[in-house]
Amino acid sequence: MKELKIQYKKILVDYIENQSERNLYIGQNFIRQLIQKNITPEEVIHMHKQVMEEIFPELPVVSRHGYDFLIEIMVYFGLTLKEHQMLLEQQEEMRIEMNVATKIQSVLLKTTVPQIDEIDIGMLSIPIRKMNGDYVHFLNDEENYVGVAVTDVVGKGVPAALCMSMVKYGLDTLEYAENNPSYVLEVLNRIIEKSVDDSMFVSMFYGRLDLARSIFTYGSAGHEPAIYYNAADNAFYGLGAKGLLLGIMPEMKYEQTEIPLYEGDFIIMMTDGVTEFRHDDKIDSRKIIEQLALTYSHLSAQEMCEKLYEELQKLQEQGLDDDFTVVIFKK
């Protein structure tokens, strides 16, 4: 501190003599040094007061009182400043942790799209924030069945991501793709109801394709209805079902419905981030998705997913504001 005071005195004396910009610049650099050394504002003022008294021993007593007052009130200022600095450091730590968590999540919740001769499957999931609140899970066993769960946690960010990890492990415990959609939804509902916070809800569309018979069986827990294109009718149908979101009621029953899939048919499963690109009219947005799907129906299921994302991004008003997930089954 003594050394700093000598330096400060020199800088101040130079300034009082010349009052040049150069002196001010040196003063600023000096302060930078003090901040690095964690010198508090009240110490700086105290040093200034002492140096002024040394240079001008005849300094009036009122000026001394003025400095004392400033020292006093700057103690509190310094405290607040320090707290602010600590918060910035903590924020940086959290940012780093968040990046690690994001990486872990993307490994943990990595979805591998099954490659099967009987059905063309495409999938795209784009998170709006760092962590994805949507998740797609495939179950595929011995080529008899392929199951798909499209899920959306109500809520975003870290809590949603944590909840999603549990959904993933819930689905993992089911193991076999031949499970009925209603059974899968009931099991998941119980797991989520028991273990997650009351404010966390998950919507899920679960579909299972019997590969030999080409029968698609589906059920839904408060999820955005899927879009089903029937090539023979050249018409679109919504695949929805009554059923509460997962995690609300412990003993919920979920219904399931079967539809046959023929050549040229396709099913678009998605989260509400896909349909909510226009805030005014939801029915309208599904019509637009149908139109786009038809335009690109000559492409592979994966290419259709990518085109849908591309086109909807162009259409939406202020940028997509939700996680965007779409899965297409194309016969």
């Binding site: 020292i71 006093e72 903590q90």
Partner: protein, 130 residues
């Protein structure tokens, strides 16, 4: 030397500050440290006044291993602190509670000890060595 001030009104905070500052000056603390000690007394006394309604501030000279210093003890029978460790963390939202500003108090002093029991009260003892 040891004096205890009852904190019931805002003016009692001023009295405690004054006694603390005079004692600090007498022991030999410089202007900056006098200001820090006064600020600490202020913070602790304000917490009593705002959140515990009644309590005391005790100011005393202490000696240990040849060192001289000042100890300030704030004691109240207020609501208490649920998680003492948490209130000592920067940025922990304690405004509006008896633990407000304790990380700052700790920074201005050399030692801090906190004892608290929910619904029974809190004792904060801080020391500053010369």
């Amino acid at each position: 030397m040891k004096s205890t001030i009852n904190i019931t009104t805002e003016w009692d905070i001023v009295t405690a500050r004054e006694i603390g500052r005079n004692e600090a000056k007498k022991i030999g603390f410089d202007t900056v440290n006098q200001a820090r000690i006064a600020t600490v007394i202020s913070e602790l006394a304000r917490n009593i006044y705002l959140y515990a309604s009644v309590g005391t501030i005790t100011i005393e000279t202490v000696e240990q291993d040849g060192k001289v210093g000042l100890a300030i003890t704030a004691a109240d029978q207020g609501p208490g602190i649920e998680d003492v460790r948490a209130v000592m963390q920067d940025g922990f939202s304690t405004s509006g509670s008896i633990g407000a500003g304790l990380p700052g108090v700790k920074r201005l002093m050399d030692d801090i000890e906190i004892q608290s029991q929910l619904k029974e009260g809190t004792t904060v003892r801080v020391k500053k060595w010369l």
